[in-house]
Each structure stands twice: as structure tokens, then as C-alpha cells.
Amino acid sequence: MLTILGNKTGRFCDGVTRRDFLKIGGLAMGGLSMPQILRAEASSGVRKSPKSVIMIYMAGAPPHQDIFDLKMDAPLEIRGPFKPIGTNVAGIQISEHMPYCAKIMDKLVPIRSMVGSLTGDHDSHICYTGRSARGVPVPPGGWPSIGSVMTKLCAASGKTVPQFVGLAPNAGHPPYGSPGHPGFLGAACAAFRPNGAGTSDLSLNGITSDRLADRRTLLASFDQFRRDADHSGLMSALDVFDQQAFDVLTSSKLIDALDVSKEDAKTRERYGKGFSANYGDGAPRNNEHFLVARRLVEAGARCVTMNFGRWDFHSNNHSELLTHLPLFDQGLSALVEDLYQRGLDKDVAVVAWGEFGRTPTINKEGGRDHWPNVGGAVVAGGGFKTGQVIGATDRLGGEATERPVHFGEVFATLYHWLGIDLNTVTLPDLSGRPQYLVDGWQPMRELI
């Protein structure tokens, strides 16, 4: 159950007021069938302007100073061998290994001053919740990730595509393979993972589609138990999900969305292929995930997360980067361009980042170590003010000197953009305490 403190201004993602929401709930209890409830939702304005988020977690924390924030005034042992190049926005320079992104800098916002990791732990947690995994109070059940929050607050029922899809396969280091946890929102708000456990549920297992149809008919005639014996509405909800599941298995809208071979060759080439195998104990450098993410939001998913690579370069930082950066550059730029070409740039927000930055000084092994003091991020889409850089670091890339941006501020921006009132909307944790979605952070004025 959701609660809203304060007064009447609380609205959910699609402009449904609390009263409307309760009305829907009240109707449900009055014995309406699920389809009727769905109609009620539709008439209260749900999903009039669906907005989606694509979150890209660069697992292991990429070196900020070698990508969007090159420190050419620093000595060689700090700045490293990479050179900057100009972009299509005068005055913004980025790494020479990001040529595609350089050409669309007007559609990107590098943030050079990400802060918030308290401990420098490797964890997707901060990238998916906006909160440090450790060093801050954790509510009973744990913090939910943005996809789970969106499932709880924004999900439209009756869609054949799951509302929150996590493309990450499991990884050797589990946090590198996490699509974002549901935390105190529980399993029902967890990511749908086409590359994780449950993958095999998506395609028929040992039976033909004819036999499935036959079984479905059989089930329909068997399943005559009185639905009104259940006072909670759960039986009807199960019916709706069964229907969706059959749709997934037969109409294959979800399977199609996951299938990049449905895309024309030129587009696929533009995104690149990458590698489907995990990089070490990290995530895969799978460029097709960028494309799948776009296909999923097009098909109706609200939040898609993907994990890319393993950027924890304690040794050979720069040569390792050459195994990651070009692929990442190609995939990210293709996704952003594609969103613009399809007119989705206002309705889909994209964020790519790692959990922290890396040491200014290059170590003896030619690597960079953990540097929670500052890191980088890149934001695109969402109708945001793009073509600008936010924040800056000092000469060595060691501390944020301008506009430090906490991870929570980016989440505040996204929730605000989704139409969720950060000042009023709360979700109860497992102790019943109402929890706000972000810890007091405000939407970034630079972006909206």
C-alpha cells in the first residue's frame, strides 16, 4: 500500500491522484473484475504519456579521467596516454576513444563530478538506488532499485511486456550481475530477467504451441473455482498474469522485443555486436543489450537496466580500456541517436555510470585503483538540456571543484521527470516506516 504524506498535491507518474488510486483500490474491493479495474485505471489517465528509463551500469567503476574528463594539465603519470578530441559542441572535449559520442555531444550531458560512494565498495547498489550500499542506514528489507520503485508506482497492468526488465546475466561477482534489487518492495517488484533465472520460462519447454493451446483450453474448463471466495483480489490478479504469460508464450511480443534479428541489418551494425560472454567476473560487453533496451521500452517496458563490462582496471588501465571504450562508445551513441531518430528522446531517459571513479595516480601495474571521492556519469534523452557539461574536477581529477552531483540527485531528477512528487510520495519499508524515494535530493536544475 502506498501512502502520501502532506496534502492533496500527491500524484503518481501518470497524473493519477491519490484519490483516484484509492478509488481504484476501493472498486477492486467492491468485487470488480481485473479487466474492469484496468478500464478504471485507463479512465483515470494512466499511461497517457509513458516515460521510460534505461540505466546502464558500467560494472566495476570506469576511470572517469580517461573518458569524459581528461586532465591534460596533470603530469603524465596522472593524465595517462589518452588524448582529448573535440566534439560537436564547442568547448567540450572527451577521450579520443569516444569518437561516436563526440559527434553527438549535443545530445549528451557528461557529469564530471559524481559523488556519493561512501566506502568505495564494488556494488551496483548506488547506481540503481542512489544510495551507498554501506555506510548509510538501511531500512528493513533494503532499499529498492529504481526499476522496482517504478514497478510499484508507475506500472500499467495488463501489459505483455514486463515493466521492469534487467538484462544483466548473473556475474561471477554477484553485484556486477545485479539488475537492481527490489529491496523492501519484495519479489513482485523484482526485475524480469530474460538473461537470468527464469530465462527458460520464456520459451516453450518440451511442448509444442499446439499442445500449449490445448492445455490452455483444458485449464480454462478446469479452473472454475469461485473467484469471490478470495476477498483480496489476488485470484483475479493471477488470472490477469496468466493471461499475460500466455501472451508472452504465444504472441511473443516480449520474445520479439528481445530478438535483435528482427531489426534491420544497418541498425544492428550501427549498435555493434560486442560479446555475450561475461568479461571476467563482470558483466558482458554486449552491445546488443543497448538495442534490446530500446526495443523493450518501445514495446512498453518502463525501466530497463543493463550492465556493461568490467571496468575494475587495477592494472593495465589504458590497454584494458581499449577493450571496453570503443564498444561502449558505439553502443551508447547508437542508442541515443536511435532514440532521437524514433522521436523517443523526450520519453526515454538514459543514464550510464559506474559506482565511483578511479585514482588520479596510475599505479605500478599501470592501473587505477578505487577512488570514491569523485567519478563520472553521462545522461541523455528525457528532453533534458543536453550538450552541456555539469561539474568539474580539479587539475588532477581528484576532487570535485564545481557542482558536486550526488547519485541521489540524478534519481531525484528521474523521479521528478516521471511525475512522482518527491516531497509527498512514500513507500513503507518492512517496519511500516514511510520511506521517501530519495534522501532529500532535489531534481537537477541544470537538466530540466
Binding site: 519484495g186 519479489a187 520460462d201 517496519s431
Partner: protein, 823 residues
């Protein structure tokens, strides 16, 4: 200010009989025999109540028309708010449906204004407008440089922030309307929180006047709010009806003030009712009891509405024990006729799942259905309580709540030991208070004393107090760590005093690798209140500080306090928790959030259960026996024409989905295939898994919401539906493999020489504990007899075709709601 010397008054006017044989209609107002308003700004909400001919009371406040005479003394608006104009006496008349009521009012000092008190008058304005809520300026760091205390609990700090901080630029006494505080509130100057006030409102005028007066804080001697009260306290209301309520603040000097429009309102059952900001309660269309929590200045009060359905309860099933007496009394009062008692088939399946976490076996079902003994249900209950599965099922429940969590492989010896101890204790039916005492006051290592397993996961005194309070006392103390509990009487002092019981818990390494010894560290138990920085002695919620000698373990004192017969929390929390286990809904809901503002739906029932539980010596099996023997528990889940919308009076059994573990076990039972949990013998039932670590390896258990033992809340177990669950049940590879297994049910049934009808009957008995109906049998038989072709298009061989038919039947059964639910 106004003063009311007596709380209520009924005014009866002499009525002309109505044209029809009319009921005696009364109009009722509330206030004093002589309502006195003092000062220019005094206001008072009145309510008008009609007494219908059947004795029912209905709110007419917003239906009546008002007048006052003589003119020029008071005004009264259409919503029943009285305001002074000039000194003198007047009579207010309310008229509705041709009936009148009058009400004398006296105005004093209409030309004078009382000095404003910041805490009593200004702070509530911020609370009502939401300025000091946890999402805005009330959060720990404030908002955009301006901080208010959460919900106004610290007026002294708020005063500093508003008047003195930021060089005083927030208030401008020379031109109050130009104060930043007001310009922001009106959103005239850009304000992140938008417009929170109306320039024409009383609140705005009040704050402006306060600024104009030079921002007085008030005197130390000024009265403070002592308590608030609601008029009326409770009403029996009609479905869809509404009720204006009055909220009065009583001050330390004995004065009273109407704070109806300054208070905050929240219903405990949001599907039943809501209250607007003027204190008008509106009901929806659901019968039952609903409480409106009213908050003002850290004080809480409750308005309770009882909403009968009003149907005739002509006959009730026979009462079987004290539970039925309480439930049926309530059902009669509410006019909700209960469903019929359930049949034997439903009962054996229901009670086996609820007590032993499993389906009844074919043999058990057959014997039970054939048994003619009138006492067979009671006997079945006793058999189930004596079975090891009872202990498995409830140990599974408690193990999760007591956070018996394995995070690393090496924890296994500890988690297994703690689980084993719980299971043994439940099996032996040790008294609940003793089990809790062993857990709370545990010393030693897990090997020596498995009960110390709770301290392995619950490490900090604050966690210990929060878990203990929520789990054993049904009190959620978390909020009071940082501020006064918003819905409760608990203060930070209560919180830290409670935590002091755990202040002397010592830990040290032990001879056994990676395990700790828990011991009592000698010393005076105390904790520091983080707000006042003062040390506090151990104190258990409603009792005062305890004197505990340094050599005594304070946790023992806590355990003693809990199992004191008079303890109002301990037994009630347990019986409510168990009630919910069986009925899918607590008498207080949620089951671990018991507070004055969240009252039980049937207080007498809760009381009776708790009293019996205490009297029985905290006999857990006895409690289960009482509950399951009751007629109430044995009612059908199928609603009659009246009780479909009943969600809290237990007029029928509320169906619930099988939990992850029970569902998994039932599925194995039906398909006759064994489970396969790593590290456990094949066939180990999910219900008897000793800790949470098996979730990670079992997508089934994860997706169906088996908890991870990371919280003391039952709500960690997710019983919601999801697409992933549906896909898994309909199409999972491992379920498909179970169906198609060559040693599974389908293969066996296909090879079985008995007639298909017999085999199908048996399947129905296993899955649903009932015989199939003729139509169901025919349908299944037709499906089995259908000609089937192999992949090459040729007709399948008979046994193979039949096996496929049975696979389909099994698949369909396990996806029916009748199978997935306990009903």
C-alpha cells in the same frame, strides 16, 4: 479562545408532529450548554445530529441550514463554523427536514485579540500545510537551507530557524506580507514545494499577524496542549455516509480550543473511509470498522466508525467455543450473516495446510471423509498438532522472523542449530514466554545454547530493541529513534530507555571458529538519549524506569516484564499474529502494528484470545487448537449474498495463496517427484528447510516470495502475484520435467491398469481433497481419450498418448486457483 465547560449537550426542540406518522427526529449539537467564544479569533465547529426513528444517529451538519439571532452577535457558515462578531448572547438555530434545534452562544471580548503563542498556533499551520513533513523542510537536513523540526515536534528549534537564522530575512515585521516565509508559502516567490497556503485563509492571516506582532514565542507559563479529543468518539454509520467531527485541544491550564481545521486525519483502512482537511469523514461502500487517526501537536486521538451491513442475521451456525461467541456477536451487530460451515473435504485440506504446511495424504483424506465420528474434526486437529510437520511449519515461520539468516557457508552450523532448537521447542510445545525468554536473554555460543542464534544476526542494541518490540510486543518503535513517533505516544526517551535493556550484551570470540559468545557484561544498564544526550535507565514502554543491579542481566528483567500476566502487549501480539496465520488477516492489521490509532476490528475477540492464552500458560498448540476448532475457522470461504465485501469480521474463511514452500511441496506431491535442494537429502520438503540459504538456488522459492530472514516482519514474505510467477507455473522447465518424469505421476498413472475414472478421482483427492464432479470427470476422461499424434504425424502408441494426457491434466490442476489457494 473559547472555553467549553461540559463536553456534550443535546438540544431538543419542541417539534410539531410531521404530516406522516413521523419518527421522532432529533437534532443534536455538541458543545456546552452555553458555548462561549472569547476573543476576536475564536471559532468553533458545531455538529448537528439527527436521531432517526430506529434510534440511528446521522450527521446533518452539512445538510442543515443555520441562522443566528439576534443578528450581529455571531456568524455561522454552512459548514457549521461559529465565529464572533460582537459581545453578547445569541441563539443559533439549525434546521433540516423541517425540524429545528437551537443552541445558545455567548461572545466575550470580540474586539480583543489574544497574544499569539508560537508553539500552540503557528507551528500547527506548518504541520497542516505539510511544510515540516519528512519529504520537505522536516527532513534531517531541511530543504534548500531552511529546516523545520519533523511535524513540529521541536517548536524551540523551529523558532530559531524562522526568526533568527539567515539573518532574520524570513520574517519582516514592518511589512508581514513581504516576509519570505509567506511569499514562499504562497508561491509568489518561486518555491520548490509550490503553493501551500491561500492568501485569504485564516492560517495566512494568523501567521501574518504573528509576524506583525513581532514574532512572539510566547511565555514559558503559557499553556501547552495536554491532549486532544474527538467529538464524537465513535459512531455507527451507514454505508457511504459522512460525519463531521470536532477536534478539541485541551491545554494545561484547563482551557479548550477547537483545532478541527488544524489537525491531520488518516484512516487506518483506506479502502473504507477518508477524511478531508476540515475533519469531514466520508465512508465508501465497505462494511466494517474504521478508525480515523487524528493528529495535532504530537497528540493523537481516534474517531471510530462502525459501519454495519445491516442484513438480517437470521440463523447462525452452532457456537463451538469462545471465539465463535465473540465473532458471532459482532456479526449480529454488524448485520453480516456468516457463510455456511465448510464441508469435510474443504476442512481437511484447509487445516492440514494451516497447521502442518502440507496437503493431506490420499490415505488421510479417504479415512477422514469416510469417518462418521462427530468429533472427527477435533481429532484431526490433534493429530496434526502432534505431527512433526506442525513443528516444521511453525519453525519455518519463526526462523524467518528471528532472522535465522545464512549469508556465508560457515554460518550453517549456527543457523541449523537455531532452527533445530526452535523446531524442538515448538514440537515439545514449550510455553511461548519461555521460548521468548530463552531468545532474549540468551548467553553462550550457538553450540552451547542455540537460542543465542538471534544475537548472531541482530547485532546492535537498537536493532535488538526494534525487533523485540515489533516481534513480541507488536509495537513499531523505529520512528522514535530520531523523533517523537508521529502516530504513537512513544518518545525518543521511550526508545532509548527500551534499548538500555540490551546495553549490557557482551560479545567475544569463542573456541569455535567464527562464532561468538554472548554474555552479560556486568554494569549498570543505561543508554544515551541521542536528543537530550542524557543517560536513561531501562524502562519497558508503559512502566517506569527499572532499578537493575549491575550483576543482574537486564534482559531477564525485560523477559519477566513481558510475561507478566498483565502485560498488555505480549500475549495480544502473539494471538493476533497466529490469528492472521489462519485467517489471512489480523484482528489488528498489520499484525505487528498495534496502537491506539489502529484499533482491533473485534477488541473483545482479541481480549478473549489473549486471556485464554495467558491462562493456558502460553500454550501455543492450545491456541492453534482453539482457533481451528472454532466454527469461525470452519466457515466456508464462499460468500453468501451479503458477506462478499466483508474483509475484517471473519464472516467467512479468507482464502490465501499457498506460500512458496507449501506450493512447491504440494507440486511435488501431486507430480510424485522429489525435491532437490543442494546439501539436503533428495525429497526434503521445502517447508522443513532450516534457513534462507536455499532460496538463492531455487528460482521457484525466490519467485514465489520465500523470505530471506532479513527482517522481523511477516511482510517480508511476498504473497503478491507477478508475471514471472505465472510464466514459471505455466511453463517452467523443471515443472515440465516433473510432469514428464518417467518415474512421476503421469507415467505411473498411464501404466496403471485401473479405469481412468478411478485414477482421476484419486488425483482430485490428492490435489483438492475432494471427489471430482461428474462434469469434471467427463472432461478429464475426454481429454485423456483424445487421439494424439507424435511429432512425425503418426498416431501415438496408447500408453504414451495416455501419459501425455495425464501430463496435461496434472499441469491444468496445478494451475487452477483451487490448487494454488488454501480456501
Amino acid at each position: 479562545m473559547l472555553s467549553i465547560s461540559k463536553r456534550t449537550l443535546f438540544i431538543l426542540t419542541s417539534l410539531a408532529p410531521l404530516a406522516t406518522a413521523a419518527p421522532t427526529l432529533q437534532i443534536e449539537a455538541t458543545g456546552t450548554p452555553e458555548l462561549t467564544l472569547r476573543g476576536k479569533d475564536a471559532k468553533q465547529q458545531i455538529i448537528v445530529t439527527a436521531k432517526l426513528d430506529d434510534g440511528a444517529l446521522r450527521d446533518f451538519t452539512h445538510k442543515a441550514t443555520y441562522s443566528a439571532s439576534p443578528a450581529g452577535i455571531v456568524t455561522i457558515d454552512a459548514t457549521g463554523i461559529v465565529a464572533p462578531v460582537a459581545d453578547g448572547a445569541a441563539v443559533i438555530t439549525a434546521e433540516a427536514d423541517g425540524v429545528k434545534a437551537t443552541f445558545p452562544v455567548k461572545i466575550e471580548g470580540a474586539g480583543t485579540r489574544q497574544p499569539i503563542n508560537f508553539a500552540n498556533q503557528i507551528v500547527p499551520v506548518f504541520t497542516k500545510a505539510g511544510c515540516n513533513s519528512g519529504g520537505c523542510h522536516g527532513k534531517a537536513g531541511g530543504q534548500n537551507g531552511f529546516k523545520l523540526s519533523l511535524l513540529g515536534f521541536e517548536p524551540g528549534e523551529d523558532y530559531e530557524h524562522i526568526v533568527k537564522e539567515a539573518r532574520g530575512r524570513r520574517v519582516f515585521p514592518a511589512a508581514p506580507d513581504n516576509s519570505l516565509l509567506l511569499l514562499k508559502g504562497l508561491n509568489v516567490m518561486p518555491h520548490g514545494g509550490g503553493r501551500r497556503m491561500d492568501a485569504k485563509s485564516d492560517d495566512y492571516a494568523l501567521v501574518a499577524r504573528w509576524i506583525a506582532q513581532g514574532m512572539p514565542f510566547g511565555q514559558e507559563s503559557d499553556p501547552k496542549v495536554e491532549r486532544i479529543e474527538v467529538i464524537p468518539k465513535a459512531r455507527t454509520m451507514a454505508l457511504g455516509g459522512d460525519q463531521q467531527i470536532i477536534v478539541l485541544a485541551r491545554y494545561t491550564d484547563g482551557s479548550v480550543q477547537d483545532v478541527t481545521r488544524s489537525a491531520l486525519y488518516e484512516a487506518n483502512e483506506k479502502s473504507m473511509a477518508e477524511a478531508d482537511e476540515t475533519g469531514r469523514v466520508k465512508l465508501f461502500d465497505q462494511p466494517g470498522d474504521v478508525a480515523i487517526m487524528v493528529r495535532y501537536q504530537g497528540k493523537v486521538a481516534t474517531f471510530r466508525a462502525t459501519v454495519p451491513l445491516g442484513a438480517q442475521v437470521a440463523s447462525l451456525p452452532p457456537v463451538r467455543n469462545f471465539i465463535d461467541e465473540q465473532v458471532f456477536t459482532k456479526l449480529k451487530a454488524m448485520g453480516v450473516p456468516p457463510s455456511d460451515p465448510c464441508d469435510d473435504a474443504t476442512f481437511i485440506r484447509r487445516v492440514s495446510i494451516d497447521i502442518a504446511g502440507r496437503l493431506p495424504s490420499l490415505d488421510e483424506t479417504n479415512r477422514f471423509l469416510a469417518d462418521k465420528d462427530a468429533a472427527k474434526r477435533d481429532r484431526l486437529i490433534d493429530t496434526l498438532l502432534a505431527s512433526p510437520e506442525y513443528a516444521d511449519y511453525f519453525a519455518n515461520k519463526w526462523s524467518s522472523l528471528l532472522r535465522n539468516k545464512r549469508t556465508e557457508a560457515r554460518d550453517a552450523s549456527s543457523t541449523f542449530a537455531f532452527y533445530g532448537w526452535l523446531r524442538d521447542s515448538l514440537r515439545a510445545n514449550r510455553p511461548y514466554n519461555e521460548i521468548v525468554r530463552d531468545v532474549l536473554a540468551a548467553t553462550g555460543t550457538v553450540d552451547e545454547n542455540p537460542a543465542s542464534g538471534w544475537y548472531r544476526q541482530v547485532k546492535e542494541p537498537q536493532q535488538q530493541l526494534e525487533d523485540a518490540a515489533q516481534l513480541f510486543l507488536g509495537v513499531r518503535m523505529q520512528c522514535a529513534q530520531c523523533h517523537h513517533h508521529p502516530f504513537e505516544k512513544w518518545s525518543q526517551n521511550d526508545y532509548y530507555s527500551f534499548s538500555a535493556f540490551f546495553s549490557q550484551v557482551g560479545r567475544k570470540g569463542s573456541a569455535v571458529k567464527e562464532t561468538e559468545t554472548i554474555f552479560h557484561r556486568r554494569g549498570v544498564a543505561s543508554a544515551v538519549n541521542k536528543k537530550t544526550k542524557q543517560p536513561v535507565k531501562p524502562a519497558a514502554l508503559i512502566t517506569g524506569p527499572m532499578e537493575i543491579a549491575p550483576e543482574d542481566d537486564p534482559r531477564l528483567a525485560l523477559a519477566d516484564w513481558m510475561s507478566n500476566r498483565a502485560n498488555p502487549f505480549f500475549a495480544r501480539t502473539l494471538v493476533n499474529r497466529y490469528w492472521k496465520h489462519f485467517f489471512n488477516r489480523g484482528i489488528v492489521e498489520p499484525e505487528d502494528d498495534m496502537r491506539e490509532t489502529n484499533p482491533p476490528s473485534n477488541p473483545e475477540l482479541l481480549e478473549a484470545l489473549a486471556a485464554k492464552f495467558v491462562e493456558s500458560g502460553y500454550d501455543l498448540k492450545g491456541l492453534v487448537r482453539d482457533i481451528t476448532r472454532s466454527q469461525t475457522y470452519q466457515l466456508s470461504a464462499v460468500p453468501n449474498n451479503y458477506n462478499k465485501s466483508d474483509r475484517q469480521n471473519f464472516s467467512r474463511y479468507y482464502a490465501k495463496r499457498l506460500t512458496a514452500e507449501v506450493l512447491y511441496d504440494s507440486l511435488n506431491e501431486l507430480t510424485r517427484t522429489p525435491s532437490n535442494f543442494s546439501g539436503m537429502p533428495a525429497g526434503t520438503r521445502a517447508i522443513s528447510l532450516p534457513d534462507n540459504s536455499f532460496n538463492a538456488g531455487s528460482y521457484f522459492l525466490t519467485v514465489f516470495g520465500r523470505p530471506d530472514s532479513s527482517s522481523a516482519c511477516e511482510c517480508e514474505r511476498t504473497q503478491e502475484a507477478s508475471l514471472a510467477q505465472a510464466l514459471h507455473l505455466l511453463n517452467a522447465k523443471d515443472i515440465q520435467e516433473k510432469l514428464a518424469s518417467s518415474s512421476g505421476a503421469a507415467a505411473k498413472l498411464a501404466a496403471d491398469a485401473r479405469p481412468d475414472e478411478d485414477k482421476l478421482r484419486e488425483l482430485y483427492l490428492i490435489a483438492y481433497a475432494r471427489q471430482p464432479e461428474a462434469a469434471e470427470l467427463a472432461l478429464a476422461k475426454t481429454h485423456i481419450d483424445k487421439p494424439r499424434n507424435a511429432a512425425d504425424g503418426k498416431p501415438m502408441e496408447a500408453v504414451a498418448a495416455k501419459r501425455q494426457g495425464y501430463e496435461d491434466i496434472l499441469w491444468a490442476i496445478l494451475n487452477t486457483k483451487e490448487f494454488l489457494f488454501n480456501h
